[in-house]
């Protein structure tokens, strides 16, 4: 499976608030983070919840707390499917 992003790439998460199941938490929507690794290829959770299996690349993406919450000096790392990500 081809990977659209590489470690070190900066990405922005989707701002879409879907009315279906998703694994992109609210607090990490529309935020800029850095890809820190691959997290394998897994069925996209949003579709899998509706019985559709569409395997897709998942990335480990790290966000500075300040980007997520406007304060804090820690980082938060999430596993995000490629569909959740766009170029910065």
């Amino acid at each position: 499976m081809s990977e659209r992003y590489r470690t070190g790439d900066r990405v922005r998460t989707s701002t879409v608030d879907p009315d279906h199941h998703t694994r992109l938490p609210h607090y990490a929507r529309g935020r800029v983070g850095t890809v820190v690794g691959s997290d394998g290829v897994h069925p996209l959770a949003d579709l899998n919840a509706r019985g559709i299996r569409q395997p897709q690349q998942v990335y480990l993406v790290r966000f500075p707390a300040r980007e997520l919450f406007g304060h804090g000096d820690h980082n938060v790392t999430l596993s995000l499917w490629e569909d959740y990500l766009g170029d910065e």
């Binding site: 997290d39 959770a45 995000l80």
Partner: protein, 196 residues
């Protein structure tokens, strides 16, 4: 297994679904119990303690564990394949400069096979929402005061992966055997809400 979920709507739905599947003859009434019992019998924080003690005493094991935990667990007779589906495990290492803590903000994902059943607070909305935004304060509530110079890394198990923290080996334990070291580790240490 998760006693505190018994009254939740999801538990009621699961019970209804189970009853329907049994009624239609699609599953044997004992089948689910057997699967759950087989899994929980092996799921214990003692597994995680053993992994940590080996990592403290064997640099090669530690390096392999941090690089690919799923590939390395069989070296100590463990795997992440005991549940209904195999899970990806990431082991994250505490150092003098970095402290790791794990959470699942969307539900309560947790590496059961290595840590045993999760504590109630891990599943509480209070922990799940606050540890991502204010980890230093949350850790202080657990009695863990970190120096300002220690960077905190929070890992949200929001998708397929599970996490386990590799705590720092306490000072003054150079003479201890692997089993003695394993006895020093706590479940909270593996989550990151305690130092060890």
């Amino acid at each position: 297994m998760s006693d505190d979920h018994d009254d939740s709507p999801i538990a009621a739905r699961v019970r209804e679904l189970e009853a329907i599947l049994e009624e239609k003859g699609l599953i044997d009434p004992r089948e689910l119990d057997q699967v759950l019992e087989a899994f929980t019998a092996k799921a214990s924080p003692a597994n995680g303690f053993r992994v940590v003690a080996r990592a403290w005493t064997d640099d090669g094991f530690r390096a392999r564990l941090l690089a690919d935990a799923n590939d390395t667990l069989p070296e100590v007779g463990l795997s992440m394949g005991g549940g209904l589906q195999p899970q990806v495990l990431h082991v994250v290492e505490n150092t003098a400069d970095v402290h790791n803590v794990i959470v699942c903000t969307l539900c309560s994902c947790y590496p059961l096979s290595l840590l045993g059943p999760s504590p109630t607070w891990y599943k509480s909305p209070a922990y799940r929402s606050k540890v991502v935004s204010h980890p230093r304060e949350v850790l202080e509530q657990f009695g863990l005061a970190l120096p300002d110079s220690t960077r905190i890394e929070v890992w949200d198990a929001n998708a397929e992966s599970r996490y386990m923290v590799l705590p720092r080996r306490p000072a003054g334990t150079e003479g201890l055997a692997e089993a003695e070291l394993a006895a020093l580790v706590t479940r909270n240490g593996l989550i990151g809400t305690a130092a060890v």
